[in-house]
């Protein structure tokens, strides 16, 4: 359209005194109308030409050809989620914690539905902001949703940009994430890339990147960690040792086992402990901190005992002493080195969790699981038995259970039924308790409203004493979670 205007623009831009409007190449009728304006004063002529072109231009507007478009979405194989359920899912997606959204998406998938078109835009928004939901979302996007992803050039997974590219040119955080992907794709190649990059990096970056290997350690990483025990950076050396501690078959682990065994003597039925009297120069080479930190409450020998003791699994202590976990705790209590030993074992359990050890420590009031995501490394069935035993012992670390389960369960998971029932019993007892910590109970209730399996939700909502908890914002969330989960399930069943 602007083509018609071009001859007018010089005059319009610099002023009619300096340039005259050119001839407009318009259809005959319009051209005739324009030429009837010849002879008018210049300003009026230009304004009138503009008036004519503005009206005729609109009436005769022609558009550019459209480019070839991508093919439309293919026919859907699944029916859309029924309207009532979709209404609830929209609220769940936009306003609840990821676990609730994940549960609802997984249920949608199990029931064989896809998201209706009206939910796709919010769903893709969630896919962007909560990448953990992506696999569950992708299962229910349907053809329409996949097509919508393609319109954004996002057909590949969100992390799909070339990790090598990000490893070579990314920021430190991007390189750390890219290294994780490279290691997952090809461990040896990923490790060699890291090894080649390390000499050029400052210590803090070496340490940051090394965590990607430590978090996903395999036996083949031993050589890399061994070489890094001599690194100039203290943090790097500590990480290398931490990596080796996670490879039970490593030479380093064998050396540590020997050192610990050497501290224990058995004299008939008596088990005796001889903490190191002096530091062995070889320790430093294995990443052990010989020098006791300032402000450390342990004495020097106790410190060395702790440093060595925490580097081996609890089983090494059990074999050397012939005691089980409960026996070890009693043994430590009777001796002079209680603090160092308990600290060492707690940390050892966090690195190499053993359900029996955890249970013994838990029953003794210790919580090796605090500050460590150790539950991911315990088989779910064992974990369940552990918590059941903990809950039945009337030492209810319900908050620990819920936090640990939240960390360990798959994103759409709920507590297994027997464990959930026990948790609910413990919670109900807490509600009936005399000195109630209202805010704490409300928080636990909120977590239960997310983690309990569906059949137990009515029982939670009717738990005596729940309604009287005065923590408005948390209780609102709790009610909202219960309400949404039950309504969604009902709507899904009805559809």
């Amino acid at each position: 359209m602007s083509g018609f205007w071009t001859p007018l623009l010089p005059a319009a831009t610099v002023g009619v005194g300096r340039a005259a409007p050119g001839r407009v190449d318009a259809p005959a009728a319009v051209a005739a109308l324009l030429s009837s304006l010849d002879g008018l004063p210049a300003a009026e002529r230009l304004l009138r030409m503009a008036a004519v072109l503005e009206v005729c231009g609109q009436a005769g507007l022609e558009f550019a050809p459209a480019p070839a478009l991508i093919a439309p979405a293919a026919a859907e194989a699944r029916p859309p989620l029924p309207t009532a359920a979709a209404e609830v899912l929209r609220v769940i997606l936009e306003e609840t914690p990821p676990r609730l959204a994940a549960q609802a998406l997984a249920a949608t998938d199990r029931a064989g539905f896809r998201l209706p078109p009206a939910l796709l835009a919010p769903a893709l928004e969630q896919r962007r902001t909560r990448p953990a939901l992506a696999p569950l979302l992708d299962a229910v996007l349907g053809e329409r949703g996949r097509w919508l992803l393609a319109t954004r050039g996002e057909a590949a997974p969100v992390t799909g940009t070339d990790p090598l590219e990000r490893w070579q040119h990314g920021t430190l955080a991007e390189r750390r994430a890219a290294l994780g992907e490279l290691l997952a794709a090809d461990r040896t190649e990923g490790r060699e890339r890291l090894r080649a990059a390390l000499p050029q990096l400052p210590a803090s970056e070496r340490a940051e990147l090394l965590t990607a290997v430590v978090d996903t350690v395999t036996p083949e990483d031993e050589a890399l960690f061994e070489s890094l025990l001599k690194d100039r950076g203290r943090e790097v050396r500590l990480l290398a040792a931490a990596g080796l501690q996670r490879i039970p078959a490593s030479a380093w682990a064998a050396r540590m086992r020997e050192r610990v065994r050497a501290l224990i003597r058995r004299d008939g039925r008596q088990v005796l402990l001889d903490p190191p009297a002096e530091a062995d120069p070889a320790w430093s080479a294995d990443g052990i901190e010989v020098k006791r930190p300032k402000h450390e409450s342990l004495g020097e020998r106790a410190w060395w005992l702790y440093e060595l003791g925490r580097r081996v699994p609890l089983s090494v202590w059990q074999e050397a002493t012939g005691l089980d976990a409960t026996g070890l705790l009693a043994w430590a209590k009777s001796g002079d080195w209680k603090d160092a030993l308990r600290r060492a074992w707690t940390e050892s359990l966090a690195v190499s969790p053993e359900p029996a050890g955890l249970l013994a420590f838990g029953l003794a009031g210790m919580r090796p699981w605090q500050n460590a995501p150790l539950f991911e490394r315990i088989p779910p069935a064992e974990l369940e038995r552990f918590w059941l035993a903990m809950l039945e012992s009337r030492r209810p670390p319900l908050a620990d259970l819920l936090a640990a389960s939240d960390a360990a369960l798959p994103i759409d998971g709920t507590l297994a039924l027997p464990l959930a029932e026990a948790a609910l019993r413990v919670y109900a007892a807490g509600l009936r308790g005399e000195r109630r910590d209202v805010w704490h109970l409300a928080q636990l209730g909120r977590q239960l409203s997310i983690l309990l399996p569906l059949p137990l939700l009515p029982e939670l909502s009717q738990a005596p004493g729940l309604a009287t908890l005065e923590a408005p914002s948390v209780m609102r969330e709790l009610e909202c979670n219960l309400n949404l989960r039950l309504r969604f399930a009902a709507a899904l069943a009805a559809g």
């Binding site: 602007s2 205007w5 007018l8 623009l9 005059a11 319009a12 831009t13 610099v14 002023g15 009619v16 005194g17 300096r18 004063p41 300003a43 009026e44 230009l46 304004l47 009138r48 030409m49 503009a50 008036a51 004519v52 072109l53 503005e54 009206v55 609109q58 009436a59 005769g60 507007l61 558009f63 550019a64 050809p65 459209a66 480019p67 070839a68 478009l69 991508i70 093919a71 439309p72 979405a73 309207t83 009532a84 209404e87 609220v91 078109p117 009206a118 796709l120 835009a121 893709l124 053809e143 329409r144 949703g145 097509w147 919508l148 393609a150 319109t151 909202c480 309400n483 309504r487």
Partner: protein, 452 residues
């Protein structure tokens, strides 16, 4: 495309004054809080337990083109969450609506009917007065005289701008243009003032500014010339010009002089926009099934106040409309009772849509928002990488410039899936703003709407 008027959950959601109300309404969907739910062909009602001792009495009048709400709660939102929840409940659990119609519902329905009748009687008198041509002419004479007096100044100013050269004007010129706009307000031509002000937005907007300014000045020139010749114009052409000058048309005048048209009117689309000082303008576009005519209802409301009547896009009602006086009129107002009716969604080819637009321009050449109802429109992305713009609205193999925001565009992409759509929107002279769309392949899907 034919749709019977389904009151879907989406349609109810579209009635919500804001997202918070809708969310609150969804929170009231448990049957627990409700009592005495009931419904018949004319209304639905129920009592909702609020925070007070006495439950709120919530009722919906279902007789008109769209539901009307009343609730005894103190909320200033309209409809309130209780009204919305009642409608959603009725869709969700119709079997629960069993209570007999209580007196408070009958009284309200009766009162509404009476008030409508009283209004009609009152209006009839005012309409009679407005119809007297001599009185009307006398009222307008002074306005025409004042406008004529300011005409030389306007023409001189227009001439000055193109003498100076539009390329020499920049943001610093704005105060001068604002002065001119103020002069137009003094001359009681607020329509001209508004045009000058909107043209001034382009001052200093870079290389494209001279073209944009020239187009705006061309439109002002058109109005100026019409004003110069106003005495030779027909009554209808003068009415068109009066709209351009920004002279309001009294309701009574519309009732007395406007063309009346009874038809089944499909609500094709609607949009609410904020004007200055918290004034909200709502435009509702209608299409007459038998007459194949378009109509535009414009309402205004202040702050949070509700619009008097609610319209549901994609539904239809049988009623009489009165067009405002003018050539190829679009603006209209409803007259009398409306009855629900089956909807028909029209859709033109690009060529015939443009033929209609051109025919309207031929009768009334002033720039205005033009309704476009297009069939077979596709919103999708080009197959070749790197094309710009990345999302393209194609109609009959032509690319139609559009101005959808990111989120509505994403929702429309999801709604269409690249399949042909029936799109209704407003053409502003440069771009189409789609207001609503229907998926031609899936007529059962509720329409997409730009404001949802």
């Amino acid at each position: 495309m034919s749709n019977s008027p389904p009151l879907t959950a989406d349609a109810v959601a579209a009635l919500a004054p804001d997202a918070a109300s809708l969310k609150a309404a969804r929170g009231l969907l448990g049957l627990k809080g409700w009592g005495k739910l009931g419904a018949d062909a004319e209304a639905a009602w129920g009592e909702c337990q609020g925070s007070g001792a006495k439950p709120y009495q919530t009722q919906v009048d279902l007789r008109g083109s769209a539901p009307a709400f009343k609730c005894s709660c103190p909320s200033r939102k309209f409809p309130c969450k209780h009204g919305l929840a009642l409608m959603l409940l009725k869709l969700q659990s119709p079997a629960s609506f069993v209570a007999a119609r209580p007196d408070w519902v009958s009284e309200w329905l009766e009162g509404r009917k009476e008030r409508a009748q009283q209004k009609e009687v009152k209006q009839a008198a005012a309409v009679q007065a407005a119809a007297d041509p001599a009185a009307r002419e006398a009222r307008l004479a002074q306005r025409w005289a004042r406008a004529a007096k300011t005409l030389p100044e306007l023409k001189r100013w227009l001439g000055d701008q193109v003498e100076r050269g539009l390329g020499t004007l920049d943001a610093a010129t704005r105060p001068q243009w604002e002065t001119m706009a103020a002069r137009m307000v003094d001359a009681q031509c607020p329509g001209l003032a508004a045009r000058i002000r909107s043209a001034a937005e382009h001052l200093g907007s870079g290389a494209a500014a001279p073209l944009k300014l020239l187009r705006e000045l061309g439109q002002l020139q058109l109005i100026a010339e019409a004003l110069e010749r106003q005495q030779t114009l027909t009554e209808i052409q003068r009415a068109d010009l009066m709209v351009q000058l920004g002279w309001p048309t009294a309701r009574e005048e519309v009732l007395a002089l406007g063309e009346r048209l009874r038809d089944v009117w499909t609500v094709l689309g609607q949009i609410e926009e904020e004007r200055e000082a918290r004034l909200r303008e709502r435009r509702v576009w209608l299409h007459g099934v038998q007459s194949d005519r378009m109509a535009l209802l414009i309402d205004h409301a202040h702050g949070d106040r509700p619009f008097e009547t609610l319209y549901l896009t994609g539904t239809a009602f049988s009623a009489e409309l009165i067009y405002y006086p003018g050539s190829a009129p679009l603006r209209a107002m409803p007259a009398g009772e409306a009855e629900p009716a089956p909807a028909t969604i029209p859709g033109d080819s690009l060529a015939s849509a443009w033929a209609r637009l051109a025919a309207r321009l031929a009768l009334r050449p002033y720039a205005a928002l033009q309704p476009l109802a297009l069939a077979g429109a596709r919103l999708s992305v080009p197959a070749a990488a790197g094309e710009s713009p990345p999302v393209c609205l194609a109609v009959d193999d032509r690319r139609l410039p559009h101005r959808l925001g990111r989120l509505p565009q994403e929702r429309l992409l999801a709604y269409g899936g690249g399949h042909p759509l029936r799109i209704f929107g407003e053409w502003d002279g440069d771009q189409l703003l789609p207001l609503s769309a229907w998926n031609e392949a899936e007529p059962a899907l509720a329409p997409w709407q730009v404001q949802a």
